[in-house]
Amino acid sequence: MTPWKAAALVAAGGLAGTSARYGVTLLLPAAEYGPLATLAVNVSGAFALGRLVASSRVRPEVRLLAGTGVIGSFTTYSSFALEVDQLLLAGRIWLALGYAVASLAGGLGAACLGARAGRASR
């Protein structure tokens, strides 16, 4: 597969992943829920990718479209970093710290659980 074909597959997945994430941010607006939307997409996305990667017989095309494309775009690091920065600037130190720890520990734990589920599905 050429890098350009692979990039096209990733872009196609990116359409779906970004739409879904945008949908979650509309459902959980930051004004009411703070960074909950980003936390939700990141932790659930980490689970989904962990599961996909640990599953056997995933064709490279599917890995690129669903993994790198859909799930990769569903989750976001830039919004996570920006929200922590903005909470810190607003003086909400404990919320910033709690959000960061919940994201990183939750994300890592979810990826771990996903990998377990993926191996069990073989």
């Binding site: 970004t18 976001t76 690091y77 920065d85 994300g107 990826a111």
Partner: protein, 120 residues
């Protein structure tokens, strides 16, 4: 609007793949350098956009769309998990977070400065 956000996200995702591919093929290491570079540059860009005062639809398109599609949290978690030792995992997890936080703050500071330069 959703379709436009999705298109910006698709462009971000394709850019992520191409940057990732370019780095991986040149610097083969077991440490996830490519994802780190993607997340650092994407965080810096988002900070810059916010810093220059981008608001409204363009902020959503560039921030939620492009930067959101370009950077990735799930890959960072899965790659951290794949590292062999606890120390390496902790280093990658905390290092990327600290780096991206600094990048977003630096981008915002620089953007703010650029937007408030005296003109004429």
């Amino acid at each position: 609007m959703t379709l436009l956000v999705a298109l910006f996200g698709a462009a971000g995702a394709a850019a992520r793949y191409l940057v990732d591919h370019a780095i991986r093929s040149r610097f083969p290491t077991r440490f996830p350098v490519a994802t780190t570079v993607v997340n650092l540059t994407g965080s810096f860009l988002l900070g810059l956009l916010v810093g220059v005062g981008l608001t409204g639809d363009w902020r959503v398109l560039a921030g939620v769309g492009f930067c959101g599609g370009y950077t990735t949290f799930s890959t960072a978690m899965v790659e951290t998990l794949a590292l062999p030792g606890t120390r390496e995992r902790a280093l990658n997890l905390v290092g990327m977070f600290a780096g991206c936080l600094l990048a977003v703050a630096a981008g915002a500071g620089l953007g703010h400065l650029a937007a408030n330069l005296p003109t004429g």
